[in-house]
């Protein structure tokens, strides 16, 4: 059996099939750093929090990082930022390796396919053209799997356009970046990526609302966490803002959608292989940022102003998006395994 690995900048997820169900594992792809003091270590041990000790720092990766950061009033750091492992030191890389190791079980057989989302670079199927992709591919190989990279948006299209002959546009609105793909019968024809996402909205909100916090050393940091909490607690539609903050939020969403669609249009227009489907094609959009009420209407509005160079059917926002990308990867991995087994036969 094959396995899927969704390497996101906010979460990492793995998905595999076990008889009549899919088994998923998930963890946040961030970490927090603590000074290597006896008291810190003791607290971490007592809480049973797994941690790393690197360069005189205690590193708490994964799901525990947020709680620990809040407890100690220290900032959290994303393990992956703009398709790069944060910091040139070993910290970000070690965190990614540890999390991938934790997400992947022991392979069932030799050279089992592990399809992972290779962010940023199109066609980076072996993970050789991007730092994170390379690292993830190495780790996957070390775990006994055979890595196969695809784009996140491609995975969404594979997962959600099954009833439309795997033809249409897949969009992921992620935390760090947004990806788009134009797929025709399962083949990716064009792809675009924008280095903005939910985190950018949090950052802008924190900046505009002057949300800061001070760490134990007295350094001031932008309080993304508060901005994100406010954004998530404020569940109203962004179409009808009732306060200045909500207006700011709506404007940020609109700006993000505008950027994404502009990149999409450029990519589709300049694609070396343009589109061959003549019927209106489906557009599926997945991601935490896209699941906000009013997002679909904003996207439709922007599409009305600047339409795609081909007809589209109504935009579909994926409700249960958490494992959507991973499921697309699993489909790709299963297809690959089938092809290999057919060749072998």
């Amino acid at each position: 059996m094959s396995i899927a690995l969704d390497i996101g900048s906010s979460h990492m997820r793995s998905l595999r099939r076990q008889r009549f169900r899919l088994i998923g594992r998930s963890c946040r792809s961030l970490f927090t750093e603590l000074a290597d003091r006896e008291s810190h270590r003791e607290i971490l041990n007592r809480l049973g929090v797994p941690h790393l000790e690197i360069n005189g720092q205690l590193i708490v990766p994964g799901d525990s990082a947020d709680g620990i950061a809040e407890f100690f009033r220290v900032p959290t750091t994303q393990a992956i930022l703009n398709d790069r492992a944060v910091k040139s030191s070993d910290v970000g890389r070690e965190v990614i390796v540890e999390l991938v190791n934790a997400l992947l079980p022991t392979p069932g057989h030799a050279n089992e396919i592990c399809c992972f989302t290779a962010g940023g670079i199109p066609g980076d199927t072996d993970g050789s053209r991007n730092e994170v992709n390379q690292l993830v591919a190495q780790t996957i190989r070390r775990c006994g799997y055979q890595p196969l990279g695809i784009g996140g948006a491609t995975a969404v299209a594979l997962a959600e356009l099954g009833d439309q002959a795997l033809t249409g546009v897949g969009i992921t609105i992620g935390a760090a970046h947004c990806e788009t793909t134009l797929m025709c019968h399962g083949v990716e024809l064009a792809r675009s990526s924008v280095a903005r996402g939910g985190n950018w909205i949090d950052e802008q909100l924190a900046e505009r609302q002057a949300l800061h916090f001070w760490d134990q050393s007295g350094n001031r940091h932008l309080d993304f966490r508060s901005a994100r909490d406010w954004k998530e607690s404020n569940v109203g539609s962004i179409l009808s803002p009732t306060s200045v903050e909500e207006s700011q939020l709506a404007a940020l969403y609109r700006e993000l959608v505008d950027d994404v669609l502009a990149a999409v249009r450029d990519a589709f227009t300049n694609a070396p292989h343009a589109f061959d489907a003549l019927q209106p094609v489906g557009v599926v959009c997945a991601g935490g940022t896209a699941s906000r009420p009013g997002f679909r209407e904003i996207m439709l509005d922007e599409l009305r102003k600047n339409p795609f160079p081909f007809g589209i059917s109504p935009v579909q926002i994926i409700g249960a998006w958490e494992y959507s990308v991973a499921r697309g990867c699993l489909i790709r991995a299963t297809l690959e395994e089938e092809t290999i087994s057919r060749r072998a036969a």
Partner: protein, 522 residues
């Protein structure tokens, strides 16, 4: 059994051979494309245009079923040497769908689609290198320095069907075309131009159009009553069509000794299509197919009664400006195939025969193999079927999201201890009576033996349960010498005065809890 095999094989060979020996025209008919005689008048709008780098550009007709792109391409004679392998499809003009298409996949066309076979980059259409048969340039002559004098154009929304034509380059401007069509050149602003690798755009009335451009007219602006009479009739019989065309052209030429029409007449009977003073708009596509036939079979010899043939009515080209003489009529798809089959002659017959024999051999081999497999043990057959049937359904279950996703707790790798210190349970653990809760993760791989410093080991005799020892990192943590390890895992119970077994050695709260639970169970 052997007799049955031979009978079966012989009958199959006979059937396939009989079908192969049918006329070649019947071979090339596909289920989706019917013969001309079957096309009724109500279906006459099922038209498709193909221009650009194909052997026979033009407007093609299909009966009720909409053909596939490959059918249209096949009937248009396939790509010419100058094609880059890509096709652009224009449907419903710029407000509809446009797309480029790379060969290798097929899909169904819709009525009125215009297909443009895109030429290689840097390849100019040179009229001097025009193929006699197709009327378009050859790749070998692509590098000629002389500028192309003719362009291919397609019109959409001008009438209820696409129109394809070839015209002189100097006349290929939107304003001039509108003028020829009986409209004001000022309407050029309403005509969108879709040219190679460009999005639809408006051009000025005087700007020269590139070859293989598609002009999308605004149907609200175009007045059809002002248009010159465009060919609308569908000629149902290819042979009659040839005769009629030849007749009409000859007649018209003889009736109106116009210089341009003379050029046209020369082109129609197979002379080089472009002379020194060609017409502004030149005949395209279907005529060239007919040209080939006329060339191979001279009108006077092969069709002696052609001049007397009155039906079906040929394409009328009355009231048409001399420059617009060349707007082509629809060409039915079966005609093109028939033309191909005729052109093949004996060679195609031999090819079909060879193909038939190959198929027969393959079929025979397949039948033998099938019969042999039937004789094999049933168990193998069942297992192979299972494999075949299960694989696609497994994938479909994932594609159509039919499997529930169950979240599993994260398995933290034990390699974590490489970077962190091993847990110093002894220093933080004060309560020696109660069991330590298990960590929230379980290492899957074997925990490596850890060398425990001597000073960290608890003194002998202190009661640390085996549970604690296990969770602390390995067997070396086991210091309880009084009990066996397995025995220590089982809670020892003693009966209290109420006769209820309660675990020994647990705290007060645990004992109270167990009593409450015991009471609840009872």
């Amino acid at each position: 059994m052997c007799r049955f095999r031979s009978i079966l094989f012989s009958s199959l060979v006979f059937a396939i051979t009989c079908s192969a020996l049918r006329p070649a025209t019947a071979q090339v008919d596909t289920p989706t494309i019917r013969t001309q005689n079957e096309i009724t008048e109500s279906e006459s709008k099922n038209l498709f245009a193909i221009i650009g780098q194909v052997a026979r550009p033009g407007v093609y007709q299909a009966p009720l079923t909409e053909p596939y792109l490959m059918d249209l391409l096949h009937n248009a004679g396939g790509f010419s040497a100058g094609a880059n392998g890509y096709l652009r499809i224009i449907r419903n003009g710029p407000n509809g769908v446009q797309a480029s298409y790379a060969t290798g996949r097929d899909f169904q066309l819709r009525r009125g689609d215009v297909v443009v076979a895109i030429r290689k980059t840097g390849l100019a259409i040179n009229p001097r290198s025009v193929d006699q048969r197709s009327g378009i340039s050859n790749d070998a002559n692509a590098g000629d320095e002389s500028p192309p004098t003719h362009v291919q154009l397609a019109f959409v929304n001008l009438t209820d069907r696409p129109v394809v034509l070839r015209m002189r380059r100097e006349n290929a401007s939107v304003g001039r075309i509108l003028e020829l069509l009986g409209h004001s050149p000022n309407l050029a602003q309403t005509v969108r131009v879709i040219s190679h690798a460009e999005t639809p755009h408006f051009t000025s009335a005087d700007q020269q159009l590139a070859s293989e451009s598609v002009l999308v007219f605004d149907s609200a602006v175009i007045r059809r009553d002002r248009l010159p009479e465009l060919p609308t009739e569908i000629v149902n019989d290819t042979r009659k069509q040839q005769e009629a065309v030849a007749t009409v052209y000859t007649d018209e030429t003889s009736e109106t000794p116009d210089g341009d029409q003379q050029q046209f007449q020369l082109a129609a009977v197979g002379d080089p299509p472009v002379k020194e003073v060609p017409t502004p708009l030149d005949f395209e596509s279907s005529k060239h197919t007919e040209d080939v036939k006329l060339k191979s079979k001279p009108v006077s010899q092969s069709q002696p009664s052609a001049r007397n043939t009155k039906q079906p009515k040929p394409i009328r080209i009355q009231n048409l400006p001399a420059e617009l003489l060349t707007i082509n009529e629809p060409l039915a798809l079966p005609d093109a195939r028939e033309a191909e089959a005729d052109a093949g002659g004996w060679f195609s017959f031999l090819m079909y025969s060879f193909l038939t024999l190959s198929i027969c051999a393959g079929a025979g081999w397949g039948i033998m193999r099938f019969v042999r497999r039937k004789g094999q043990p049933k168990r193998l057959e069942v297992s192979s079927r299972q494999v075949e049937s299960e694989q696609p359904s497994e994938l479909n279950e994932i594609i159509y999201d039919q499997l529930p996703v169950v979240e599993e707790s994260l398995t933290q790798s034990d390699r974590l201890s490489v970077f962190s210190r091993t847990g110093t349970q002894k220093q933080t653990r004060n309560d020696q009576t109660h069991g330590v809760p298990r960590p929230h993760f379980l290492p899957e791989t074997a925990i490596p033996d850890t060398v425990i410093p001597e000073q960290e080991q608890p003194p002998r005799g202190t009661s640390i349960s085996a549970e604690v020892a296990t969770t602390s990192g390995g067997k070396k943590f086991r210091v309880d010498a009084k009990h066996e390890q397995d025995a220590a895992r089982q809670p020892v119970t003693v009966a209290n005065h109420a006769g209820v077994n309660e675990p020994q050695g647990q705290g007060l709260l645990d004992r109270v809890l167990s009593r409450v639970q015991g009471a609840a169970k009872r």
